[in-house]
């Protein structure tokens, strides 16, 4: 019946197919990211009412929370791709895992910076050794470790496999770190948005937040596609399909 789905997924794993597929989707994903980002930020910064307690300063939530969610989401994607890369040795999974790491590190960095900008007016300090902040900082170091290990090897596929192993160790480590720093010190407010049950946020603030989150998802897809395409061209240089693309580019 739907036997074309596994077949199609199987084909997508091959670098030339993925190169074409990502090339088609990438501009659309980028356009969606820009559109949704603009709508969400307009809704968040202009339309949404000011918070009764935090005033206008709370509006940084529309950047802070989506990037915090993305930092964890990208780590999860990286972990799954790493697992696939190590178990089935699929070249594309290695590329996806390794090209996710810099994007994830960027989102983690944005989370930390906006968080400290938010912390200054609210808590009166740029940085505090609170559990969530510390976990996020540790997450940044996990990303940086993966990037560093990947680039330390001369053979890129070997580097990707080693870094993938590190990413999997990190996935086991994240809950342990989170639990231990929670036990150690906590100041950060609890979750406001709950998937299951009632969210503690007004609808006028919730929809821009979710729109910006969708925008960051699309941005991640677009950025990942672009990076993966470049990486695939580099990895597969010398193969026929890359030569054909290069000749096509030269002919233009």
């Amino acid at each position: 019946m739907a036997s074309w789905i596994p077949l199609w997924l199987h084909k997508l794993g091959s670098p030339p197919t993925f190169y074409r597929f990502a090339g088609v989707l990438q501009p659309w994903a980028m356009a969606m990211a820009l559109l949704l980002g603009a709508i969400g930020l307009y809704g968040g910064l202009v339309l949404a009412p000011a918070d009764y307690q935090q005033g206008d300063a709370y509006r940084i939530i529309f950047i802070h929370v989506p990037s915090a969610w993305m930092s964890m989401f990208i780590y999860a994607v990286m972990g799954v791709a790493s697992f696939i890369a190590l178990v089935w040795r699929i070249k594309l999974a290695e590329v996806v895992a390794m090209e996710s790491a810099p994007i994830g590190a960027a989102f983690t960095f944005i989370t930390l910076v906006t968080g400290s900008l938010w912390g200054k007016p609210m808590w009166g300090t740029w940085w505090t050794w609170d559990a969530r902040l510390t976990s996020e900082l540790v997450l940044l170091f996990l990303f940086l470790g993966v990037i560093g290990l990947y680039h330390a090897f001369e053979d890129r596929r070997q580097g990707a496999r080693a870094a993938a192993f590190l990413a999997i160790i990190g996935i086991i480590n994240v809950p342990i770190v989170h639990f231990s720093v929670n036990w150690w010190n906590t100041l950060h407010q609890g979750s406001t948005v709950n998937v299951f049950g009632q969210s503690k946020i007004s609808g006028a603030m919730l929809w821009p937040l979710l729109t910006v989150t969708l925008a960051t998802k699309f941005y991640y897809a677009a950025s990942l596609f672009r990076r993966a395409r470049t990486d695939l061209l580099d990895l597969e240089s010398g193969k026929d399909w890359v030569r054909r693309i290069a000749e096509g580019e030269a002919g233009r």
């Binding site: 190590l86 510390t134 540790v138 997450l139 170091f141 996990l142 940086l144 470790g145 560093g148 290990l149 330390a152 090897f153 053979d155 070997q158 496999r161 080693a162 192993f165 590190l166 160790i169 990190g170 480590n173 342990i176 770190v177 639990f179 231990s180 720093v181 036990w183 150690w184």
Partner: protein
């Protein structure tokens, strides 16, 4: 071909590594000296005030020991990779994880044990109360093997690269955060006269987990790193 039994292979591995460490006694002394120097610098930097030094003593000793171990971690497999004996170990009929476990044990005996021995001296230099020192030693006795095991996995991952010193520190930091929190938590609790058993129990649980899993992970990492 008669193949040596598992126990005798483990014993041979341990004996070989300890003999090698003993022949290079200078290398064993280096982390100890480093830890003493770092501990000595703290009173100079913070002032010789007793109450302040007492408050930070436990944490300073823990972090210093951690850094000294990091210094020695790099060399865990270095000479074995250079002369090719690590490849022989990978090809050996005995399970690689077990052999690496023995190597980690030998490394812990050669680097961490001397540090634990001088830890009371370091603690006394910072005026840590005598009653807290047994708790500090217990925390160190549980935290240092944990660090050795976690570090071994990372060293194995970087086995195929040329320069790995800074990278190792970057990768070890997220892994050692829980160990540092629980070890320092136990010492701080003991210093305030609070029950300190819970963090020590957590450390012990983490160590048990690491003893089982880390050699396996180390073997897997080494196979990735040497598979050029």
């Amino acid at each position: 071909m008669n193949r040596p039994g598992l126990a005798s292979a483990c014993a041979a591995m341990l004996r070989r590594d300890l003999t090698l460490a003993w022949r290079r006694r200078g290398d064993i002394a280096m982390p100890v000296l480093y830890a003493l120097i770092v501990t000595m610098l703290f009173p100079f930097a913070l002032g010789p005030e007793d109450t302040l030094l007492q408050r930070i003593a436990g944490g300073v000793v823990l972090v210093t020991v951690l850094l000294a171990m990091l210094l020695a971690l790099d060399a865990m497999f270095a000479s074995d990779i250079e002369d090719g004996s690590l490849e022989q170990l990978v090809l050996a009929p005995q399970p690689l994880a077990l052999m690496l476990g023995m190597k980690i044990l030998a490394h812990w005996l050669a680097t961490a044990l001397p540090l634990i021995v001088i830890a009371p001296l370091m603690a006394a230099m910072l005026h840590l109360p005598g009653a807290v020192i047994p708790v500090l030693l217990l925390a160190l006795a549980l935290a240092t093997p944990l660090l050795s095991l976690l570090g071994a996995v990372l060293v194995a991952l970087t086995a195929g690269t040329r320069r790995s010193g800074m990278l190792l520190a970057l990768m070890l930091l997220p892994l050692c955060v829980p160990a540092v929190i629980f070890a320092a938590g136990a010492v701080a609790a003991a210093q305030q006269g609070l029950p300190w058993f819970a963090p020590v129990a957590w450390l012990a649980a983490a160590l048990v987990l690491a003893v089982v899993l880390a050699p396996l992970a180390c073997a897997a990492a080494l196979r990735i790193a040497l598979d050029a």
